[in-house]
Point group: C2
Chain length 333, copies 2
Amino acid sequence: MLKGHQTWVFESKPVILSSAAVGGPFEAQGNLAEDFDILHEDLWLGQDSFEKAEKKMLEEACEKAIEKAGKKKEDIQFFISGDLMNQIISSSFTARTIGAPYLGIFGACSSSMEGLSLASLLVDSKSAEYVVAGACSHNAASEKQFRYPTEYGSQKPPTAQWTVTGAGAVLLGRNGKGPRVTSATIGRVIDMGISDPFNMGAAMAPAAVDTIEAHFRDLNIDPSYYDVIATGDLGQVGHRIAGDLLIKHGLKIPPEIFTDCGILIYKKEQPVMSGGSGCGCSASVTYGHFLNRMRKGELKRILIVATGALMSPMSYQQKESIPCIAHAVSIEI
Amino acid sequence: MLKGHQTWVFESKPVILSSAAVGGPFEAQGNLAEDFDILHEDLWLGQDSFEKAEKKMLEEACEKAIEKAGKKKEDIQFFISGDLMNQIISSSFTARTIGAPYLGIFGACSSSMEGLSLASLLVDSKSAEYVVAGACSHNAASEKQFRYPTEYGSQKPPTAQWTVTGAGAVLLGRNGKGPRVTSATIGRVIDMGISDPFNMGAAMAPAAVDTIEAHFRDLNIDPSYYDVIATGDLGQVGHRIAGDLLIKHGLKIPPEIFTDCGILIYKKEQPVMSGGSGCGCSASVTYGHFLNRMRKGELKRILIVATGALMSPMSYQQKESIPCIAHAVSIEI
């Protein structure tokens, strides 16, 4: 049910029956290693291309989530997924493996919460009983497609971010035990004219702020409602800008509850510049770390605000600025 | 509400308040020229790149649909769109222009009906009052991205298809007059091992057949229920294969009601090999031609089965076969 301008309230509160996170070798050295279900020592996952490795991670995340819920592939009625690869091949080839009716989505790094929003809508509207939503990214596959092959060793500015090698998936159902999705705020495209692909955090921060403001306005609640409000992958630079913008707009989020998946995932000594990014960042941190903390009773209500930069190498080459978006999903236990 | 395994029945029957189709110079010489709202003589639409021309077509289709319904951009609560460009930039940049909360989707040429299915679900579940769904493609932008720049003059086999330069959009609402969306069957990924990107019709035909069968099984009706059953862009080659496969599976669709958007859009003498293709094919033919015929009273019930080939140039280069999908939407007046 629509509340306000852009927030869906899920009256039946769809249940996250299970979730899984898969990561690469760099994530295994990170801050949240313990929250991953599967960690790979090999960046290639034994595949002959980084693209196939990315797909394999997503397959593993989905299969793990299905297994953890005690379900089978055949029980899954719909699969919703997105990723950064051209024509979202990681998601579509995973859909072939899963075999369920499939809705491909693209919201760049916001795909994780776009997928969870739609999956929740399907369950809440009785259009499905069991839905799997997933998202993934692979550092080397992304560098190759969006920037330069890593072999070039090109230098990056401190505002740049490190694409997470990771995948996350949830299995959503109508009944059962687990954290529940209570609402989703679908974001508008916000473009402040930034065109530097090495400063995505700054480009995406206004989109995150726009969606966060919309969420609290639509639901008529304030930030104290949540134990954690986490942006997707703004990194250090973008997260600071988002905090400043929120204060400017009169919305004070206490710093102890306001965080960012891209800041949390790596250790300070890891050379990730401003922090982590990619569809796999908010997907693995939410579906691994945050949901684990909820299940342990450490967190009761969280708001995940996944951010996405909707440009392509082509739009950048054609001197376009970066249109950005953020979708926020509220999860409660 | 889910019926059977993969079909949503929309109890409130969301109304198509308006629709619009935009085409290029080649479409202006085609079979359905009269059904386009806007036809461009200039393949560039006065832009400095084919990508920007594609985006402009989609913007025009959306703006025209909004105008025809007597609405304003500000009335649109959600915008759902997909296209073939890497990172669906045509849709995302159009979302920036429209300004509504945005859900980016990717189902290759099935994006038109994936978008209409989701838009209908949003309206039916009271998650929105007014939603615009769109899709587009541009022949030269697609050739450049997926094949060779047109300047190379590369030869094509007779099984190849011609990407439509076109865009289509609908404005869906809860109340009002117009054709109504009654159900949607979401397709599974079907991959029969075909890897020739110059024979997409043959690759996609089994996916179309799978979804058509699922539609009739889930709703427990037979093909005679419809005045027209149109596949998205199988072309001559794929459409013949689909017809044969359906007969093999015991589902006889009378040839006089079974057609294909990619066959209908161009004249026989136009050099399009097997027929039209691209997200703009089923979008412009459905949102222009078919809906016009419904409004004139010539058709009462139609089923549009938009087909999509979910590969990328990268997956082809890596010797993967082509995973295909089809989503079917039933429209009645």
